[in-house]
Amino acid sequence: MRQELAEFGAAAVRLVFALALAGAALPARAQALCEKSQIRLVNSMREITQPYHVNLNKGGRMFARWAGLEDNYVLQLNQGDSDKQIALMRSILATNPKCTVFNVEPNADVVMKPMVDTADRTGAWIVTHWVLNRGLHPFEGHDHWIAHVAVNSQAVGVAVSEQLVAAMGGKGGIVALQGRLDTDPAQKRFAGLKAVLAKHPGVTLLAEQPANWDRRAAFPIMQAWLAKYGDRIRGVWAANDDMALGALEALRAAGLAGRIPVVGVDGIPEAIAAIDRGEMTATVSSDAFYQGSIGLAMGTCVLTGQAPPPQTWAKEQREFFLRVVVITKDNAAHHAKEPAVDAYAGEWRCDNLWSRATGPAF
């Protein structure tokens, strides 16, 4: 983690404050709520065909093995079907709800409320990621909703856009590939771009289209833009790496691969490789391994009594922003390698669960 975000400098300060507060709140030990062997770890995510989700799963499994609970690790895939994600959670709770921990990558923010309500109702424990309905917070009476690990998509958008603008030398036209428009990250990341553009009048947004996170959809759109704007396109902004790579192939078809800066988000291996090759400029990683494991770690700590019950935690421990990493040519090589368990073991320790918190997300 060599390159921290400037934005988050200030946040780091608040982090220290938060940790101190947490330390204050931590008694030596609370009593265990479950037999350790009874604890069931559930990772609920969209699918495992995208590298990002593969790594989410790997992270969760890594933690389970580390905690000696690998046999109790359950993977739930909803195939992009929000209703199914809710149903899957509710059905598995037919047995042993009180000792079940959910680490949830919400398919869409609509699933949040039903899932946390289910947790409250059944006594299961849940940690959620990414986005949050307006007016919904763990510390507002949801005692079984341990925490929400938010990602500041706007900051992500800003960070990656800064990289793009820098690579373009602060002037020229860009095109933007948006994600699924009804998702919060898509909008926040784009908002981040807008913010950066406002600061750099030299850079103009020629066109924007949604490509639904999808590489295949991005390809023809990029082609059309190349036909329409030709060499007026000096940079390509994509709301995720998959679309960025689709655009990259379109550039390759036009013999422009590596000649026009391309940025994406997620930090999937392919993108990192492309950055290493110099065909992509930058991507931002929220570290899927960490996201896939931290919720399970928190739950385990609560259930084993190594951490106090969540309702005693401080607000900014219940809902905080996750530190993200900008990956560029400088650190691509480092991130290309698959991390080992010990890279995370320290961050799974029950007294160090907020090592990547950068301040409250409410």
Partner: protein
């Protein structure tokens, strides 16, 4: 679907097929019971994997889970019996969810009623275009699918949390005497439309059109009116599905129901309703819905490795239909 030339036999009533002794296996009773058998077998198989699957709790979850699919499948059944298909239902449900979530705080119950009316009107509109402009329902509703979800996105390009008056619909997410209210609502609609199909002129006309539209026309039935009504009904069902969605998630979302289109259609056909039209019933659809719901959730609960999940699902769909399809009423399998 499509046009039928004068030289062609009416669908599902093929004299060669019958005279040629190709009417297929299975008496009415057998094909009627087959879906039930499949359902039982499926449940037993899954509960063998995870015994808790038969617990009152799981069944209640299952019922709640299937209620949305049920509502969609009810509307779809009517349209399919008519000989058409409605691909726009899920998108329409999503649109309704957005409208309800947006208007609920100001209008309360009015928002729900209004949204339902809009959904029904949209459905009617599609039926009218299909019947009057003589465009296959497949195409009309395909276009509708794009239109309505596009409009939903335009109205609210992300999730809309219900900012107030949730109690107006909240009861749909609760359950009385262990039965989810949403499911009860579904059953109520089912009973309502089953009665309409079996006892009302509308129902008789729907079947007549599904079996032999040409004869219906030449008998002076105002086919376009019946079609418009039927699609209005499916629109209404989509609307209700949308409302239940809002109750379930206490928010509206322009794509929330989209993933339920194919499952709901599968439910109708697995129930044994013929896609060629004219044959089928809502009772069959109810079983079909249960089967689909069990497959959707059960396969996952049974703890099968993720990659094998879709394989199992696909195989089950084919097997289920192979057993339940009423070959007698489908002269020719297309």
């Amino acid at each position: 679907m499509g046009t039928v030339g004068p030289a062609k036999q009416p669908d599902g009533n093929d004299r060669f097929a019958i005279g040629g002794g190709r009417s297929g296996a299975g008496s009415g009773i057998a094909t009627g019971l087959a879906p039930v058998a499949v359902l039982v077998a499926l449940v037993l198989a899954i509960s063998a994997f995870s015994p808790s699957f038969l617990s009152a709790y799981s069944l209640r979850v299952l019922a709640a889970e299937s209620s949305v699919i049920l509502l969609l499948a009810i509307g779809q059944t009517i349209v399919v019996i008519l000989g058409g298909i409605d691909l726009s239902m899920a998108a329409l449900a999503s649109l309704t969810s957005v409208i309800v979530a947006l208007l609920l705080p100001e209008l309360g119950a009015g928002a729900v009623l209004g949204a339902l009316c809009i959904a029904a009107l949209i459905g009617a509109l599609q039926g009218l275009v299909h019947a009057r402009a003589k465009i296959p329902s497949f195409i009309v509703t395909l276009a509708g699918l794009g239109l309505w979800s596009g409009i939903a996105l335009a109205i609210a390009n992300t999730t809309v949390p219900v900012a107030g008056r949730y109690e107006v619909i909240g009861w749909l997410d609760a359950h009385a005497w262990g039965v989810p209210n949403a499911f009860v609502l579904g059953l109520a609609m089912l009973g309502l439309f089953q009665a309409a199909l079996a006892r009302l002129r509308f129902g008789r006309h729907v079947y007549a059109i599904g079996m032999a539209e040409r004869v219906a026309l030449l008998s002076g039935i105002r086919v376009w009116r019946v079609k418009t009504l039927a699609f209005a009904a499916s629109g209404l069902c989509s609307g209700l599905a949308g409302v239940v969605m809002v109750a379930r998630t206490s928010s509206g979302n322009p794509t929330i129901a989209d993933s339920l289109l194919l499952p709901s259609i599968a439910a109708v056909l697995i129930g044994g309703t013929a896609i060629t039209g004219g044959h089928g019933s809502l009772a069959r659809t109810l079983i079909g819905v249960c089967i689909v719901a069990v497959m959707r959730v059960g396969v996952a609960v049974a703890g099968i490795a993720p990659a094998y999940e879709p394989i199992a699902y696909g195989a089950l769909v084919v097997i289920a239909v192979a057993i339940t399809v009423d070959r007698k009423s489908i002269g020719i399998v297309k």
